[in-house]
Structures are given as C-alpha cells and as structure tokens.
C-alpha cells in the first residue's frame, strides 16, 4: 500500500539528529557528494534550506535539481521526505 521506500520510512520515523545528507530519501552517494561540496553536509542543513523555502515542495524540488543535478524523481522524493519529517517533528 505504501509507495515510500525503506529509506524514506527510516528518515521520517525519528528525529534526524546528525544524520548525513545521504540519509535523505532520493539522495545517494553522488548527489550527496555534490551537496556536501556546496556546504550541505548534514541532513539538517538541507532541512534548513527546505524551511527557508517555506516548506514549498515544488520550490525545493527545483532548487535541489539546480543545486545537485538531481532528476525530478529524486528531488521529489527528497522533498516529500522532508515534508513528512516536518509534519511529524517540526
């Protein structure tokens, strides 16, 4: 029934703490490296960017695609992951 991945469920199920950026759903090693190069080395920094964009998933998706070269699926997955995390913990 659920179309979310295990990674998604793992992230959304608990506070992110100091998890690396690769813990985000949709962010693998290569995308994670590109983000780290720009200073987004932890998941909470990406969360910060998500919050700056007022938790707008479309805006965040576009930003992530520009910043890391993610495709629509990966960026959308990451945005949804962060949105659900915020709904649960923010």
């Amino acid at each position: 029934m659920s179309t979310t991945s295990q990674k998604h469920r793992d992230f959304v199920g608990e506070p992110m703490g100091d998890k690396p950026v690769t813990a985000l759903s949709g962010i693998g090693d290569s995308l994670g490296k590109k983000l780290e190069d720009q200073g987004f080395d932890k998941a909470f920094v990406v969360l910060g960017q998500f919050l700056l964009l007022k938790k707008d998933t479309e805006m965040f998706t576009e930003w992530l695609k520009d910043a890391s070269g993610a495709n629509s699926r990966q960026a959308g997955s990451c945005a949804q992951c962060l949105k659900e995390w915020c709904d649960a913990f923010l």
Partner: protein, 184 residues
C-alpha cells in the same frame, strides 16, 4: 531592464510578489532560485499586476469594434430576432436589459419617422452584438471544467446500473404458479 542580480533582496521580494510567486526570504542560498523564477515569469509574459479590470476593457473594445463593423442597418431587423432565438442560454438579466432597451427605443420613436428607427436601434443591437461575443467568453468562464453534458457521465452510469439492478431484483423475485417454460 536592469539586471536582476543588481537588485536588492527587498526588490527581488517585491518583484516576486508582483508576479504572485510565493516565496521565503531572499538570502544567499535562495537568491539564485528566485532570480531564475523571475526570469521564467518575465519570459512567459505574465503581466505583473493582473487585475479583473482587464476583462472589462476587453468587452468594451469588442463593443466598439462591433459598431464599426456592422454591415447595414436594414439587416438588423432580421438579424436581431435570429440572435434572440439562437442564444437561449443568455442570462435573464441580459435579456431583460435588451428588452428594456427595445421597449424604450420603441416608445421614444413612436412619433418619429421610420428613417430614424434603424439608426437608433443601433444601441440595442450593439448591446446584443457585444453579447454575441461575450457568451463564448462567459461560457468559457462559467463552464471551465465540465464538458458539454448537462448531467455528468458518472451520474448516468450510476443511474443506469441502479435501474438495471432494480429490474433484476423485480424479475428474480417474481413467483408464478405456471411453469417458466417460455423463459428458461
């Protein structure tokens, strides 16, 4: 047009508001994204402050052009009636207004010659000509989503199924003393 990158954060924020783009604070990490959004919005040619007055102006323009392009006044007598018949879905308000214009002009010109009548009938006919244009526009606005059906398709299906099941229940519950030779 000055470059977006030369504008202050406040100016970018104001521009985003003008184009109706919802946004957060314009800081270092978000600025590039917002500039890109503004460029897209400008390229699409969205008018920054779109207001409902624009549609009003459009109707006025159409009214003016129709006055100039009316062919001949003597044709109006026949055209008017056909317009009235072919537009049954006009709102009552429009029809009442056109009727009132009609009656007003008729009562005014009861004493005048026939020569004056066609000329003065321009005002109700211009109203009507503009109404000819506006129903397509209004119908687009009034019926944006649904197709040309009065009753939605799914309602028709549900109704058909309900009738079919109802008839089946009646048929299956019928008990007859005679044998059902003819049916089986």
């Amino acid at each position: 047009m000055s470059l977006l990158s030369n504008k202050s954060a406040k100016e970018i924020s104001d521009l985003l508001d003008e184009y109706g783009i919802k946004h957060g604070p314009v800081v270092d990490s978000t600025r590039n994204l917002y500039e890109k959004k503004l460029k897209e919005a400008m390229a699409k040619g969205k008018r920054p402050t779109s207001s409902p007055d624009k549609t009003f102006y459009r109707e006025e323009e159409e009214e003016v052009t129709y006055v100039y392009t009316t062919p001949s006044r003597s044709d109006f007598a026949g055209e008017r009636t056909t317009y009235m018949r072919s537009r049954p879905d006009w709102t009552e308000r429009e029809q009442e207004r056109s009727y009132s214009d009609y009656s007003r002009s008729k009562s005014e010109y009861s004493g005048k010659d026939m020569v004056d009548e066609p000329r003065m009938y321009d005002t109700p006919s211009t109203y009507r000509n503009s109404y000819v244009k506006s129903p397509p526009v209004k119908s687009d606005q009034k019926v944006p989503k649904t197709s040309s059906r009065l009753i939605p398709l799914w309602v028709q299906f549900v109704f058909f199924l309900a009738v079919a099941i109802f008839l089946y229940i009646i048929f299956s519950n019928m008990e007859t003393n005679e044998s059902l030779k003819g049916i089986v």
